[in-house]
Amino acid sequence: MAAYIIRRVFAAVLLLLVVSAVTFAIFFLVPRLGGQTLDSMAAQYVGKSPDPDVIAAVKKNLGLDQPLYLQYWEFVKGIVVGADYTFGPDPVTCNAPCFGYSFKTHTEIWPQIVDRIPVTLSLAAGAAVLWVVSGVAIGVLSALKRGSVFDRISMGVALAGVSLPMFFTGLVVLALFGNGEYVPFADNPVEWAANLVLPWCTLALLYSALYARLTRAGMLETMGEDYIRTARAKGLRERKVVVKHGLRSALTPLVTIFGMDFALLLGGAVITETVFSFQGMGQFAIKGVTEADLPKVMGVTLVAAFFIVICNLLVDLVYAAIDPRVRLS
């Protein structure tokens, strides 16, 4: 078990490096391959009327004139220990973890992301609880009553739920119920939840439909397994057979899918945030795009990618806890 954990953590760290390298490449290598000059690249980091001195300073600060491996090294170093941008009229420090610095607004990116994480996390976590509980419950009942009216109706609704575009359901919900502001949990938990219920339900509808279908398929498969027959042959009550022997196996593959879905949501539920005007990470990235402020976009990209890696690691650990064949091999 310990060896397994160490292996997975090591793999996750490697993956983080890969992810950071890819992000780095997207923002610093691809433009260059696309024919941009160092000056035109540096110009993207400053305001509209570019002052050649400012551009030169940014170029130096970002190290655009350095060899690529050095640039990448500085990039990683910034994330781990922070970075100092010493050139130009007013030198600044970007504290660790430095996920970028906006030369346009003269702000560090990470603290702004940190401000928005609770919003996104609240949105994602609440919706996740809803969709897992409802999706799994509907899926199990559908599987057990395959072909029944309940099964047909819920799978029909699930199909509709999967196919309805998010912004459509979101806007309908919004038009029907109106909208509340995000209230931090610590300030007022009741209002926090009350104002989040609508986006939660909107998000959950989509995923719960998907999870109901997945759970149903998984249950139908596991309930046909030999060990289910053994459980019945022991004389176990059907409920115990279903929950203890069937559901546990049927849910295992869902763990992976859930890890991915949740991680992606943590990167910003862009549409939901936009529809309900919640200032989460997705909105922050959008802002970066509309304001042509690359470090914002890069920061969100990096953080989102890190979330994915971390969720992946958690999935691996949960797997080991569930399946002894993983743990003990």
């Binding site: 030999d226 027959r229 053994t230 019945r232 042959a233 176990l236 009550r237 022997h245 196996s249 064949r325």
Partner: protein, 369 residues
């Protein structure tokens, strides 16, 4: 689901197509522990009605072993799952009577049968790896089987589980108790399955091809173990196999199945040494024999088992039977042969006359075996 009316006692011979249960010499003293009467299990599938088991009857006494033999697809597993009440598909149509220790099961409620499962009757399966849950330890699975039917605390159940593991020959049972199925070898897994099945001292054990998935070297050990435990616990055993050789030694009575029906049954000696049905001859011929050269062996049954949706007319075996033309008037293809008494407790379902069968057996078959 069941089309049967409840009766007070096992009907010895009832509806058309049913035959008296075998009554061999030793049967006079003991009471029947399990009586199956005209059991039918059909599946209503999209392709048509699958007649997986079509009128099977037999009796089994406490302490005795019944071997059920037949090629794969002949309905052996469906029969045994029927006895255990394990046909959960709503497409299963079950009729007939199953008397277990004086209690009829097909007409009984599902909850009543559940209480008997694992308690009074238990079952082990062909592939112990897939029959054990991969996520729970061997010990936990045995404890669970014990605690469903016994109000004991976890500690007592664990003690009992370890005792059983020890009894079925698992070394270091205290340590292996914690292991998961994938950490056991095939033979050990089947031993653990046996421990689980016997943890509540069931009076009936159904073993559905318990050695088929195992290495040849462990097969004999598992059979010996089942035989020893049967002696020790005095339980009735139904031993299912597609290999006559496996049961010939340990069964008291044999029942040969073909296409969902019993085509021959009787005491093990009779069926093994004086078989009265061409299909049984074929099974004997396909048995591996160490004392013979491969080339000398009788040709096994040719062709493959028939569809159970469109069972061949007349004798279901006729498309594969080398002697289908021996009985006169093409009767083999038009009329289904019913089980007929050959000698004491020995029945066979074949249109050939006793003389015709005896001649073919002594002149053509026996010398080649």
């Amino acid at each position: 689901m069941s089309e049967v009316s409840k009766k007070d006692t096992p009907a010895a011979d009832v509806a058309e197509g049913t035959v008296p249960a075998p009554r061999d010499a030793s049967a006079a003293d003991g009471k029947e522990f399990l009586s199956v009467r005209n059991l039918q299990v059909h599946f209503d599938t999209d392709d048509g009605l699958v007649r997986s088991v079509d009128g099977v009857s037999f009796d089994l006494k406490a302490g005795q072993t019944l071997g059920i033999v037949g090629e794969s697809g002949s309905g052996k597993s469906v029969t045994s799952l029927g006895i255990m009440g394990l046909h959960t598909s709503e497409r299963a149509r079950i009729s007939g009577e199953i008397w277990l220790d004086g209690e009829e099961l097909i007409g009984a409620g599902a909850e009543r049968v559940r209480k008997l499962r694992g308690q009074k009757m238990a079952m082990i399966f062909q592939d112990p790896l897939s029959a054990l849950h991969p996520y729970y330890s061997i010990g936990a699975q045995i404890v669970e089987a014990h605690r469903v039917h016994n109000k004991v605390d976890k500690k007592a159940a664990k003690k009992r589980a370890i005792e059983m593991l020890d009894r079925v020959g698992i070394p270091e049972p205290h340590r292996r108790y914690e292991d998961y199925p994938h950490q056991f070898s095939g033979g050990m897994r089947q031993r653990a399955m046996i421990a689980m099945a016997l943890v509540n001292n069931p009076q009936l054990l159904i073993a559905d091809e318990p050695t088929t998935a195992l290495d040849v070297t462990v097969q004999a050990q598992i059979l010996d173990l089942i035989r020893d435990l049967q002696k020790e616990f005095g339980s009735a055993v139904v031993m299912i196999t597609h290999d006559l050789g496996v049961v010939a030694e340990i069964a008291d009575n044999l029942l040969v199945m073909y296409a969902g029906r019993c085509i021959e049954r009787g005491s093990a000696e009779k069926v093994f040494y004086e078989p009265q049905h061409p299909y049984t001859w074929g099974l004997l011929g396909s048995m591996p024999r160490i004392d013979r050269e491969q080339t000398e062996r009788l040709i096994p049954v040719k062709g493959s088992p028939p569809s159970l949706i469109n069972v061949p007319s007349g004798c279901a075996f006729h498309p594969r039977c080398p002697y289908a033309d021996v009985p006169a008037d093409n009767i083999t293809r038009t009329e289904r042969p019913e089980l007929q008494l050959v000698s004491d407790g020995h029945y066979s379902a074949c249109h050939m006359s006793r003389e015709q069968r005896d001649r073919i057996w002594t002149e053509e078959i026996a010398p080649k075996l």
